[in-house]
């Protein structure tokens, strides 16, 4: 019954931190409860298509830049080509967000 299935990753926490927004700010913009933002960031809840598109529109990014079925590569790796360390590659937090 839970709207969560393994394998959906998102970058909401990174994008929110980049824009220096609180969870409440983002929640107000998306018209959801701020707790829901926490659930999304932790990967405990997968958004509906409507909410995913609203998040995408809010950050002005394509949906696939925010959500992915495969883990995101860390920005350090994407931007600078740094190889992920073995320990970092296995941390649970990396599974949830890049």
């Amino acid at each position: 019954m839970s709207n969560t299935f393994p394998g959906l990753y998102n970058r909401i926490a990174v994008l929110r931190a980049e824009r220096r927004l609180s969870r409440q700010d983002l929640a107000d913009a998306l018209e959801v409860n701020y707790q829901t933002i926490g659930f999304l960031e932790r990967g405990d809840y997968n958004p509906s298509l409507t909410l995913a598109l609203a998040i995408s529109a809010f950050f002005k990014l394509p949906v696939e830049a925010i959500f992915s079925m495969t883990p995101f590569r860390p920005l350090s790796e994407v931007v600078y080509g740094a190889e992920p360390t073995a320990s970092a590659a296995e941390t649970p937090s990396r599974r949830k967000q890049a």
Partner: protein, 189 residues
């Protein structure tokens, strides 16, 4: 599901932590169980005891657990703002019923998609055991017409009364209790 707009305190105790909410749920059900037990034990000599048990469950649902109006910890299940309280003016003395003209802030009371999913899931989980209770009542009712040898007619009626009473109390309170039990700690945004 647990709104920031509604006060998160019950009897002055903050309810942000799930462990505190679970203690509240357990304490509330201990009290309700005591009332139900007293009502079931005394229903032959004091039939109004059942009324007290039902009213207690309604009061818990409205004022403590929530989900049914402006009070309580859980947002209204109806997913719309509760009716604003009418102004206390002298019209009351004239036996008129003043309607409130102000509208409540609907966004604070509206459930988002995750909260609606939690609400629906809580009702689904709550009504599974309740369905078993009602089936038991139905089967016992058929026995009440033709009592088997191993059970007296009075015992069957007492069983029907007790199961129906407990099922009513749970139907009134269990969905909100499940939400309070399962919702994680409320983090400060």
């Amino acid at each position: 599901m647990i709104p920031s707009a509604i006060t998160l305190k019950v009897f002055g105790i903050p309810m942000q932590r799930r462990s505190t909410r679970r203690k509240l749920v357990v304490a509330t059900y201990i009290v309700l169980s005591s009332i139900c037990a007293a009502a079931a034990w005394s229903h032959t000599i004091f039939p109004a005891g059942m009324t007290y048990a039902i009213w207690s469950a309604i009061a818990v649902g409205i004022f403590i657990f929530g989900g049914q109006g402006r009070y309580g910890l859980v947002k209204p299940f109806l997913n719309k703002p509760p009716q604003p309280e009418p102004p206390m003016i002298d019209l009351v003395r004239l036996q008129l019923e003043p309607l409130s003209v102000g509208t409540a802030d609907s966004s604070a009371w509206k459930n988002d998609e995750r909260e609606l999913a939690r609400r629906d899931n809580a009702h689904y989980v709550a009504y599974q055991p309740l369905a078993i209770g009602w089936v038991a009542v139905l089967m016992l009712s058929s026995w009440a017409l033709h009592a088997p040898r191993f059970l007296s007619h009075d015992a069957i009626l007492s069983l029907i009364f007790t199961i129906a009473l407990v099922a009513c109390v749970l139907a009134l309170t269990l969905p909100a209790a499940i939400i309070l039990w399962t919702e994680p700690d409320i983090d400060v945004c």
